[in-house]
Each structure stands twice: as C-alpha cells, then as structure tokens.
C-alpha cells in the first residue's frame, strides 16, 4: 500500500525531531557564548571606560623668582637644582589662592591641601618651567592633575564613607573638590594622555598611561611581522611545494604541530636562555620580546600557510607546469596569490595571539617598571635595545598594585588591547574578502 505524501511517516518524524533538537542545541550554545561575551564586555567597559577620563584642576600658578631661580639670570643649571619638592608649595599656594578667590572656606591643613593635587603636577610644572625659563616671575595657567582620590570621587570610586577611613584624603577635601567642580575649576574630561604617558609609581595612578606599553607592543609586533612572516611563509612553501614527502618531512611536520601546542611560557624560558643569557641582549627589550613571540607565532603561521597552500587546487599547478613554467614560477605566479588571503589571515591571527601574550614576556623581564620611553632605532641603545613593556604585561603589572586607581587603568589598557585585536581581526576579514578569488 502506498502512503500519502501529505502525512509524515514515523521515520520522517523521527528525523525531523532529531534535526529540531540539534538546531536547539546549537542555538543554546550560541546564546551561552553571547551571554558570556556580554558579561565580559560590560564588566571591562564598566571598569575601564572611566580611565579615559581624568580630573584636572585649572590653576593660576604664580612662579616666584626667588624660589625658582636663585641666580636671577635664568641659568638652567641653577634652576634645575630646585626639585619637585620645591614646586609643591607653589602649587599648594595656587590652590589656596583659588579657593580664597572662590570664597570657599577651608580648615584643611597644608598637607591635606597638597594631597588634593597629584604628585605628578609638580613635575609637570617643573618641566614646563625648565623648558621655558621665561615663565619665571609670571603667573601661568596650568591644568594640573587632581590626585587619584579626588579623581576617584568624581568617578564614583571614592565616597564620603571611604574617605573617612582614608589617610590620603578626607570628606572635607571631597567637599572642597565638589565645590571646585561646581565652580568649573575642577573638571573631569577626556584624557588623551592616557595613551601617551608612561607608567607611574604606586602613589600616582592618575599619572599612569599606556604610552610605553603601546610603543613596546608595536615594536614587538614589528619584529614578529618582519621575522615570522618571511620565515614562516618560506618554510611552508618549501615543505608544501618542494620538499620530498618522506620520513624526515613527516617528522618535521609532526614537530611543527607540536610546537604550536607548546605552552607559551616555555618559549619564555627558551628566550631567557638563548637571547638573554647566551646572546646577551638587553633584558626586557622589545627585540628580545619580539624574538620570543616570533618563536611562538611561527608554528601558527606555518600551519595556516600550509593549509592555505594545500587548498589551492592541484590543477592550477598542473596548468602552470603544463605551459612550461618552472616549479618556482608556478608557485609564485599562481599558487601563492591564491593562497595569499589564507596566509594573511593566519599571520594576523598569529600576530593577534602574540599581541595578547603575557607569560613569556614576564620571564624575559618585561614586567619591570618602565618610566621612560625606550629609545629605539638609535645606535646608542642598539636596535630595539632599551627596556620596554607591553600592553598585556602592563595590565598584569597594574592589577598587582595596591591603589584601586590602577584597577581602572588596567581595565582601560584591556579595552585598548581589545580594540587593537578587533582592528586586526577586522583587517584579516577585510583582506580575506578583498583577495578571495574563485577558481
């Protein structure tokens, strides 16, 4: 008896049910993943977005000649004898003057007033004065950093209750800060310097930036790109297109796959042993960091390049050989262009991995506190020779610090890192689309 097409039989029903179940599992998995992503992003953004803003105090600072220039003839040698300790009272006086001008009463001690201003501010003013000695004797307007506690108050991190228990600030200081903010003298605004400034010491989170870390990361990416891409692509081409298929190439292949799975910290130990102890490169220099990351990235690039080369149909190679092209011509004229999108994607993903890598860099000493921009490309420091830090290491470093102001900055650095990764992945996708060709 033949069955009607209009009624589904038991077998079909079972099949359809299995399919529906599978779709539900898939959907469920995606929902869980998205949920995790949303939680991650909200937590990072919630903690870190505030690091892009900073509280500044607009002060009219009187720069008295008798304190700052004992020589009276703007002799830099004499002027630089006045340290930041000499500048601190000048700033305090400027703040007191501003308070008086605004009619804000205060019973705070001098020390407490000083504590409202960042310790970095004195250095900022000193540098300006030494850079332009003519300023001495004038009254100059400075936008100086407020201290981390005051800044935290405007970002909600510091409250009256917490301030009451805090040695570095007090509820009265916060009230004054509020009054100054109401008067428009204290402002929390976008702080481009976060991306420019180097790290700062434990007492001044408000002055810490990721400038050196970004630069260090960029140097390292440059080293990785310049070494890993050519070496990786050349070795994959050789292995895939030229090398005979025998036991040796099999062994090499297995080893490369194993290398890709080696924990990154092992590469750090290797780098420490080879580049620092044996070859005696500078510790924590971007060159060593880049070399270690190159070792780590190479297997990724080789594997993806080989996959890209393998996916080029053999008929293209036959076609090229058939018209009398040499092996090399067939590879470089036909196979490589077709494999390029895959190679680029693999390279960018490898770079992105390297950009976010922390463990091996800790081992080669990149966790050191770096206050100065590394001088790269100069003969004195050697190429890439000076100590630097890197974005993920900076994040690690900041999360280890006591002052809660650094937590915010660590999240800010994470956001920056994520943005870089996002950009790199977007570039990878764009290149893939742009160069992908049908055959």
């Amino acid at each position: 008896m033949s069955t009607s097409l209009l009624t589904t039989d038991a077998r079909t029903k079972k099949r359809n049910a299995a399919e529906a179940r599978f779709k539900a599992y898939g959907l469920g998995a995606i929902i869980v993943a998205m949920f995790a992503l949303v939680i991650l992003l909200t937590s990072v953004l919630g903690n870190g977005l505030s690091s892009f803003k900073q509280t500044f105090i607009a002060l009219e600072v009187e720069l008295p000649e008798d304190k700052l220039d004992k020589s009276g003839v703007r002799d830099l040698a004499v002027m630089s004898k006045v340290t930041t300790i000499g500048y601190a009272p000048i700033l305090r006086n400027a703040l007191l003057a501003t308070l008086a001008e605004q009619g804000i009463e205060t019973e705070l001690s001098n020390k407490e007033i000083s504590n409202m201003i960042s310790k970095e501010a004195a250095a900022t003013v000193r540098n300006r004065v030494l850079g332009n000695p003519d300023l001495v004797g004038q009254t100059v307007r400075f936008d100086v950093l407020a201290s981390g506690r005051i800044d935290g108050f405007f970002k909600g991190r510091v409250t009256m209750e917490s301030a009451a228990l805090d040695n570095n600030t007090s509820p009265e200081a916060l009230e004054i800060a509020q009054a100054l903010a109401d008067a428009g003298i204290m402002q929390t605004k976008f702080n481009w310097n976060f991306f420019v400034w180097p790290d700062a010491s434990d007492q001044r989170p408000e002055a810490a930036g990721i400038g050196v870390a970004i630069l260090g990361s960029l140097y390292m990416m440059l080293v990785v790109l310049c070494l890993a891409l050519p070496i990786g692509v050349a070795s994959s081409i050789y292995l895939e297109e030229f090398a005979p298929k025998n036991r040796w190439t099999d062994i090499i292949e297995v080893n490369i796959s194993n290398l890709a799975a080696v924990p990154s910290i092992v590469f750090g130990i290797l780098g420490l042993a080879i580049f620092i102890n044996f070859m005696e490169f500078n510790q924590s220099s971007p060159l060593v960091g880049g070399l270690v990351l190159t070792l780590m990235t190479l297997p990724t690039i080789i594997i993806s390049t080989r996959a890209a080369l393998k996916s080029v149909p053999p008929s293209i190679r036959d076609a090229a050989l058939g018209v009398g092209a040499s092996k090399m011509q067939s590879v470089f004229h036909h196979v490589l262009p077709l494999a390029a999108p895959g190679i680029l994607t693999g390279t960018i993903i490898g770079l992105a991995q390297a950009l976010g890598e922390t463990a091996p860099l800790l081992l080669i000493g990149m966790v050191a506190f770096v206050r100065e921009y590394p001088a790269a490309f100069t003969p004195e420091s050697g190429l890439f020779g000076e100590a630097s830090t890197a974005l993920p290491v900076q994040v690690y470093n900041w999360t280890q610090r006591a002052d809660p102001g650094f937590v915010e900055r660590a999240s800010g650095a994470i956001i920056t890192l994520l943005v870089f990764l996002l950009i790199m992945n977007a570039v990878a996708i764009y290149l893939r689309r742009r160069f992908e060709r049908r055959w």
Binding site: K245, R317, A319, G322, V323, G324, Q329, H333
Partner: protein, 266 residues
C-alpha cells in the same frame, strides 16, 4: 607482433617520427601501470589513444612531457625520444621540454586571471613576444585558432574562470598553443563539452595538425575515428594495437581491440 614492428618500419619511412617510445614501463609504487610500450608518434598527424578506463592512457600521455615527475611515487623506465633526443636524460630540463610539448588537461583548468593573461602567460615566461603588440598578436591568433576569439574579443579582461566549461576548455587549448609547442597532448579535451563545442574543438585539432603533432586521449570511438590518422589501443597497461585509424576501426587484428570497439569490454 612481428607484423606490427614491420608495419611501423614502413610507416616511419613514409613520415617523420616526432616521438619515439621504446620499452616504456611506468610504476606507481608497486602498481605496474604501463607495461613495455613501444610507440612512434609521427609529426603532423593526430594520434588517438583509446582504451577502457584505468588502462593507462593518461599515464602514458603524461610520460610524453614528464608531467609524471610531479608525482612522487611514479617511476618511468625505458626511452622516449623527441626528435631523437631522450627526454628522460638527466641533462634535460623538464621545463624546457614542456614548452615544446604542450598539454591540455581533462578538466578545464584556466588560471584565475583574465582571459588575456591566461593566454599571454606562456609566451611571457618563454620570452616569445618582444613587445606588447607582439603579445597581443599571439593572444589573438591563439584565441582565433581555438575558435574562441569572437566570443571573448570584447572581454579579454574578464576572468577566465567566469566562462562556461566549454569556453574554459577552449581557453586552455588557446593557452597551450600560444607557446607554439611542437607536440600537443590532449587528455579527453572534449569530455566537458557539448556537441557543438566538441565539433569546434575537433575542427581545431584538424587544423592544428598542419603545424603540430597532436596526441589525443578519448573515450569516444567516433571522435577517434573522426579526428585521428593513427590510433593506439591500450588495455591493462599494454599497448595492444597501434595502426592507422581506418584499419583499427574496420579491420582490428587483436580480438581485444575488436571487442572494445564493438562495445564488449570497457
């Protein structure tokens, strides 16, 4: 056997021999794919290879321009002479050989580049054109010979992979003849083509015969009968019979040949 050798001799006195294969053995690892094949391919003739699937036609064809070199497990023994020179001599660079012995593959495989670049590639790497005008001329002539010019002359910059299967195959033929080979090997060139395109390609093969020696592998008896002057019948790696096409199809000497062309084996 004695007869055949006798016949070959008389043949070779009549026509120039372009390729002479002597005692060719081909092994894929342990698989003996071609067993002691002797064949003489004459200049300016079309030679057809026929035989059941897997009998080694493609393998033997690929020996003639050393495309088998690209297969690691493949081993070729015996002698193959092109104009009296052993092409498996260690001094021979297969790249130079392949410029002389062109090949069209069973599956159309144009480069994923423009139509123009597909045809111009061979002449470019062999330095056949002195300037752009020369190259343009070669491209046009090759496309004309491949009966493709009229269809593509307005879109030479369009991708070669964007054409129909039959057009792609004719493009591959144009690409092969652009390098001005002396021998053209074609492995089932019409298996992807409709009857009209097939007729065009056959006409082309007939024309090519004026200037080259053509070897064609085909599964169609009619095609072999239509285009070729000589036919070789392969069976299980052996060359069973090699003779004038007329003779093979009207008066085969070997019972295996007879049963194949009458459709009993294969």
């Amino acid at each position: 056997m004695e007869d055949m050798i006798q016949m070959d001799r008389t043949m070779s006195t009549q026509q120039d021999i372009k390729i002479e294969a002597k005692g060719v053995q081909v092994y894929y690892a342990d698989n003996h794919a071609i067993k002691d094949v002797d064949v003489n391919i004459a200049d300016k003739t079309v030679t057809a290879f026929i035989g059941p699937s897997g009998c080694g036609k493609s393998t033997f064809l690929r020996c003639l321009n050393r495309m088998n070199d690209t297969i690691d497990i493949c081993r070729v023994e015996g002698k193959i002479l092109l104009d009296g020179e052993d092409i498996y001599d260690p001094k021979v660079d297969p790249v130079q050989l392949r410029a002389k012995v062109g090949m069209v593959f069973q599956k159309p495989n144009p480069f994923p580049k423009s139509i123009y670049d597909n045809v111009a590639y061979g002449p470019k790497i062999h330095g056949l054109a002195r300037n752009k005008a020369d190259l343009d001329e070669i491209v046009e002539q090759s496309l004309r010979k491949a009966a493709l010019w009229n269809e593509v002359k307005d879109r030479l910059n369009a991708p070669g992979t964007g054409m129909s299967g039959g057009q792609q195959q004719r493009l591959c033929i144009a690409r092969a003849i652009a390098t001005a080979p002396e021998v053209l090997l074609m492995d089932e060139p019409c298996s992807a083509l409709d009857p009209i395109a097939t007729a065009q390609v056959e006409e082309l093969i007939d024309e090519l015969r004026q200037s080259f020696s053509v070897v064609i592998v085909t599964h169609s008896m009619q095609q072999a009968a239509r285009v070729s002057q000589k036919t070789a019948f392969f069976h299980l790696g052996n060359l069973v019979e090699f003779d004038d096409t007329d003779k093979i199809f009207t008066n085969p000497q070997d019972p295996r040949t007879e049963s194949y062309i009458s459709g009993r084996i294969g």
